[in-house]
Amino acid sequence: MTDLSKLEKWRSALSKCIRCGYCYDQCPIYKETGWEADSPRGKLILLYGMLSGEIEPSDYIANKLFECFHCNRCQKACASGVPIQDVYNDARAFLVESGFDVVGTTSRTDHDVCARCLNCIRMCEHDARKFVDGKVVTDVLKCQSCGSCFDICPECGVTIQRGFGTNPNELLNRVDTFLNDPNNPDAKAIVFSCGYSSYPGLKHAEFEDFVISKEYEILVTACSGRLKSHTVLESLERGAWGVLICCCPEDECEHGGSPRVKERMKNLTKIMERIDIDPKRVQVVEVPQGDEAKFLESTSTFMDDIRAIGPLSPEAETVGSKK
């Protein structure tokens, strides 16, 4: 029998979870799959079940516990005050010590592709990557699944196996769905939003006096820093009139992605200018956590710009067609 004593101190906290499910709407993982075991409530139930001996720990459960973007919205929303992230942290440590094979949303390095440039190690704000025996390895207990390493790898050797909607191909599928929706002729633009800062504010805004425009689709990345230039260009190629990226103010970004995405988009717009694509089509804006007014103001200004510029005309502006 696995030693669960480390979790014993959380027994009372787990009993206090009244299982109201108010965390469901906060969790980006649950919102993506819709399965209840992917929600914070579901995960707390699993921990309670293991602690009480009603279910056995397994790789399946271990992976569920490691599927998390560490946005902490569940804990903030918890009516019962369960310290969810602290409980998770101890549970994760226990699962790793017990030898369970965990991947979850943590980043992985393809050692065949890795050029050993070690950029990912240098820039990881969470000290979650190490160079051991000639290989870059992830400390799964420290990795916060922000994807910064994913973006910085020059060889595309870093992957997050399950992106829950935040991986480039998943984002582009959504771009396609939105832009090609026959029921929404107003579809014009894509807003990539940091899952840590602007999105929580936006979620709050939705319940107040705010209705999302049908002209743009908000796609939530993890840290905005993981958004690749390619994804932005592809969005334009697939018919978006423009792309807005909402990131944290630099001093608030916990993952170091905010300055990088700004730099990257600056370079991208320079190239766009050279090939006669209006650089205003791609904009970056800083939105502090919970500041829905700033989010609304930014999207509104951006949409004014985009409407004035109009659609990307196939003759004049097809991406990559001009040098």
Binding site: S12, G21, D25, E36, S52, G81
Partner: protein
């Protein structure tokens, strides 16, 4: 006590085994293997119907789907997430043929064990059917699939200047299907009614797979048995709701929220009865008692005066004059019954301040005492307006008698009283006491002409009280159930077939000794 004797790990495992054997003995169906798991042929068949990605049978998932927001738990054998009506029909035909219990489930936020699969079988996760099919402002209705979350529907309705009125406190998670099955309502039910008032028509799949439409999209419909309303509050025992046609109402342009304090609970109670009896039309009328005020102060340092009772009242509408008149009348009545410190405001910030005590109540109860957990027991009842204060008094008297902490709060404009039992869930004696307290509270509720559930439903934990209240009509209810579901596969063991002793006859999700 099956739920209360688990000490060591081996005993815990035994308890799990007992649960399985219990399930097997209740079902004895061909769809089960000897160890109680669903056989692979059944799983394969279900995957064929809804697709591989929409079936779960990992023990971890089964465990999560075995509970809701109540004190109960029980394991299903499989979770199936249908995507459309045809799949529900095929699932029902198959389950009916094989006599597999099937429990429709929304988000599992119910507080009385409605979706706990006490006889195992299939949990039908309806959240996969979550499309808003039509919003028809001209004819005043919308059509939705059952898995649509209440808040999401209201977000979609907002541009039309209307809202779907039941709005329970759990609207961020509750699905429309679950709200209909439980006849949910919330703080504003005093003016806008419950789910039953909003349902115009439903499409349901019967146990035999037949698809039927009940009701009409018109505002009035005179004759015949209102089968669409029969679905409301049926807790998944009669049919699977696959589509609902709901009416909506205009979003009021302004609201005014006020409060009054009372030195005696009975004076607040008299004020409630007088307000409701005098033809006032508040959009909300809430009672918070002293235990609740202390809890809120303790957890949040709000510094509310610890008086015996606070009444919160709200009026809303399209014109300020009308709202002013309502508030004035309500305040006059409060004063008449010795209410003091009266205040009111239209300003959002001020309203938030006045509302803070009530807003923080639910979380405060969990933080009331580190050694106590807030359990959903005797969580919901309704009594006549004039009995609200007596009911609150009785709750405190019973809590003291059984050494439990209970508070009384509720949407008293609708006669709805809520409470929670705060107790040490690790101790078996707490459960014994809770059972007796629950029994006595509902005895009182019945004695004053009240009813067992105002808006949370019956499920398992209120079945005993429900059966006593509805004693004379239980057989008729069973006959209705049989007409809809002759093989008793739809959410068996609930409502009139629920347990007489919820502590002894059900698995509790808490461990105690």
């Amino acid at each position: 006590m099956p739920g209360c004797q688990k000490n060591g790990e081996s005993q815990l495992r035994n308890a799990g085994l007992i649960l399985y054997l219990y399930v097997i003995s209740r079902n004895a169906g061909d769809f089960l293997c000897e160890d109680g798991a669903m056989n692979s042929a059944t799983i394969e068949r279900l995957k064929k119907i809804v697709g591989e990605d929409n079936v779960l049978d990992n023990p971890a998932d089964l465990y999560v789907y075995g509970s809701d927001s109540s004190v109960h738990e029980a394991l299903p054998q499989v979770i199936v997430r249908p995507q459309n009506v045809e799949q529900v029909q095929e699932l029902m035909r198959y389950a009916n043929n094989e006599k597999i219990p099937i429990v429709p489930r929304g988000s599992g936020s119910g507080m009385s064990g409605q979706v706990v699969p006490v006889q195992g079988g299939i949990v039908l996760d309806m959240k996969g059917m979550n499309r808003i099919l039509e919003i028809n402002p001209q004819d005043g209705y919308c059509r939705v699939e059952p898995g649509v979350v209440d808040d999401d529907l209201n977000k979609a309705l907002k541009p039309y200047g209307v809202f779907y009125p039941p709005t329970p406190a759990s609207s961020i998670v509750a699905t429309v299907g679950g709200e209909i099955a439980n006849n949910a309502s919330g703080g504003r039910s005093v003016k806008y009614g419950a789910a039953r008032d909003a349902v115009l028509a439903v499409k349901v799949v019967l146990a035999n797979g037949e698809l039927l439409s009940f009701g009409s999209t018109t505002r009035v419909s005179a004759s015949g048995y209102p089968l669409e309303k029969l679905m409301v509050g049926s807790e998944g025992t009669l049919a699977v709701i696959v589509e609902a046609c709901l009416r909506f109402v205009p979003i009021p342009k302004m609201r005014c929220l006020g409060s009054a304090k009372f030195n005696k609970l009975s004076e607040a109670g008299d004020a409630i009865a007088d307000i409701m009896g005098s033809g006032c039309q508040p959009s909300m009328l809430e009672l918070i008692d002293k235990v609740a005020i202390i809890a809120v102060n303790k957890a949040n340092n709000l510094g509310l005066p610890e008086v015996e009772a606070i009444l919160l009242y709200e009026a809303d509408g399209m014109a300020k004059e009308m709202i002013d008149a309502e508030i004035e009348r309500i305040q006059k009545i409060c004063k008449k019954h010795k209410g003091f410190d009266l205040e009111s405001s239209y300003e959002a910030k001020e309203r938030a301040r006045i509302w803070a005590g009530r807003a923080k109540l639910f979380p405060s109860l969990s933080k009331y005492d580190e050694s106590l957990a807030s359990t959903s027991l005797a969580d919901d009842m309704a009594v006549p307006f004039s009995k609200m204060a007596a009911c609150a008094d009785k709750i405190h008297e019973i809590a003291d008698k059984y050494d439990l902490v209970m508070t009384a709060y509720g949407h008293c404009g609708a006669g709805c009283m809520h409470t929670k039992i705060l107790m040490d869930t690790d101790k078996a004696v707490s459960w014994e006491n809770a059972r007796e307290a629950v029994r006595e509270i509902y005895e009182f509720v019945r004695s004053v002409g009240g009813t067992t559930s105002a808006e949370h439903g019956i499920g398992l934990s209120k079945a005993a009280a429900f059966k006593k209240e509805k004693e004379a009509s239980l057989e008729l209810m069973r006959a209705i159930k049989k007409a809809f579901d002759p093989n008793n596969i739809l959410n068996p063991g609930k409502l009139m077939d629920g347990p007489d002793d919820w502590v002894e006859e059900t698995e509790l999700r808490y461990q105690s000794s």
